[in-house]
Subunit: 310 residues, 2 copies
């Protein structure tokens, strides 16, 4: 592989001149031509590793993700990558298998590989190590979850308004009793989504019936159970909203088992259309998270931080 030295010799200048030319400094026109020729002739390519040794910049961003097969997460990562790529950055995706221990290990690994920044889809224990990383001067951006006890840039969707709008739509369709299948009370996102549910009831002067609110968890089984609980009530809701993808799946499972017709038997609204609509028989209204925009925001935040470091 040709080096700067070779190019310099071939072009009859010094390595310094070549390096400066490579980095966009102004040099004499004749040298410019000679160097360009030499580079082409020798098929010279800069060695980013060597460059990094000096500059301490790899132009690589690490993305720590809980599961590479999570459609929701990868969709966002795609969007992040698209934007970062425009600005000359590359993405290094690492899957931590929903394992906090591995998460820490992989984070360290990414740092060792000298990524310029870290983007994390955090677990509940992320706060511990993220703190250290951030203090070492590496920008950290957190996606989608709030990490309690850790201050940094983060992008959350507007959970409050997502549910607000969904319920509002149902109100306008004349539904008055709307069931909510939500995560547990300790879950950050669940809390926000509940807030939206409450707020829209207030704004529309609808009274809040606690029995219509199920906060059993964000997993599929909870969705399944919550749906049946709601449906089997003495005075059941006329519409039900599932607050994330997995509970939506559970809800569909229940609907299938009971052979219910939508919207004749009940109206439902799901969350995150990740290819569902094609295989599900029932006409399903789905709340879509703006994954594209989330990714773009994350990238923007990261780029801002990276610039600040100069």
């Amino acid at each position: 592989m040709a080096t700067i030295k070779d190019v310099a010799k071939e072009a009859g200048v010094s390595v310094g001149t070549v390096s400066r030319f490579l980095n966009g400094a102004e040099i004499k026109e004749r040298n410019k031509q000679n160097i360009t020729h030499a580079i082409e002739k020798l098929k010279y390519k800069v060695n980013p590793i060597a460059r990094c040794l000096k500059t301490n910049k790899t132009h690589t961003i690490g993305v720590l993700i809980y599961d590479l097969t999570s459609l929701y997460a990868t969709t966002i990562v795609k969007s992040i990558e698209q934007k970062m790529f425009e600005y000359g950055y590359n993405i290094f995706v690492c899957d931590y298998w929903n394992n906090p221990e591995l998460e820490y290990k992989k984070a360290k690994l990414l740092i060792e590989k000298m990524v310029d920044g870290l983007i994390v889809f955090p677990s509940s224990t992320s706060a511990n190590y993220l703190h250290t990383i951030q203090q070492s001067g590496i920008p950290v951006v957190v996606v989608d979850w709030g990490v309690p006890g850790f201050e940094c840039d983060h992008v959350l969707i507007d959970n409050v308004n997502a549910i607000y709008d969904a319920v509002e739509r149902l109100f306008k369709q004349n539904h008055k009793k709307i069931g909510l299948i939500n995560g547990t009370k300790s879950n950050y996102i669940a809390k926000e989504r509940l807030e939206g549910y409450k707020r829209v009831h207030q704004d529309y002067n609808m009274l809040l019936n606690q029995k219509l609110i199920k906060m059993n968890g964000f997993d599929k089984m909870s969705g399944y159970k919550s749906f049946l609980d709601l449906f089997d009530m003495d005075d059941p809701p006329t519409a039900i909203i599932a607050c994330n993808y997995d509970t939506t799946l559970g809800m569909i499972k229940a609907i299938n088992e009971r052979h219910l017709s939508i919207p004749e038997d009940i109206s439902v609204m799901g969350f995150d259309n990740l290819g569902l609509s094609d295989v599900v028989q029932q006409p399903l209204s789905i709340i879509v998270q703006p994954t594209k925009e989330i990714g773009s925001r994350v990238a923007t935040l990261m780029l801002k931080r990276l610039k600040k470091r100069f």
Copy 2:
């Protein structure tokens, strides 16, 4: 950040000794202790970038993938990563957005970042650039597709036997007319799956009815159309097999629209269970690709190549 030099000074030895210790050479017991202490005290970490500059090894493998949101592909990548990680390698996933031009660009980028090897989920045009990369001494392993005109390690699933076994199972359930929803004739995988279909008919002395074989494409719409074509025949099959994930989705769509009962109206078999079974109402038999094993094989091949380079 502490360097070897600092450690050497702290431990009262030379950098050479520290380096040798770091790389597993035998040194005097007392020095070993001193160095270990110094490393802990200074929180020293080797700088992999600097090391790479000398060794030309990054212990990083690039994975080029056509779509980060393809469940099938990411499932395999997970398995690859798991194995490579055991051997101290890291995975660098790059999404080329099903865009051959971008594919080439990202491949170059990965090489520039000095990955030790490249794993590719190829497109139809991959052969061109992969050739060059391989010749430059970087091991290349290709997943899932044969790349015509390019010889290298690759892992394919046993498409022939996958369909063979599926049809055999249906035969044993007394089905005699089995429809096949397959990709186009030019598609490598489709050809193999057709071969399995033919072979099992031969082995079981069943005559082959060309009308039962639909080779319209691997996309969802083709699956949808092919299914209806088969179902609406004068003498329709009693069972139908869809040969990949997308055609399976199309088939389900058709089944839903016609309000068919499975297996009363017809028996069906799909491909790749990527979360389908939970949301689909019908009892669906599914041919599962051994993604776990594919990934493991890919990793093994890559590791073998990497060793050979010494």
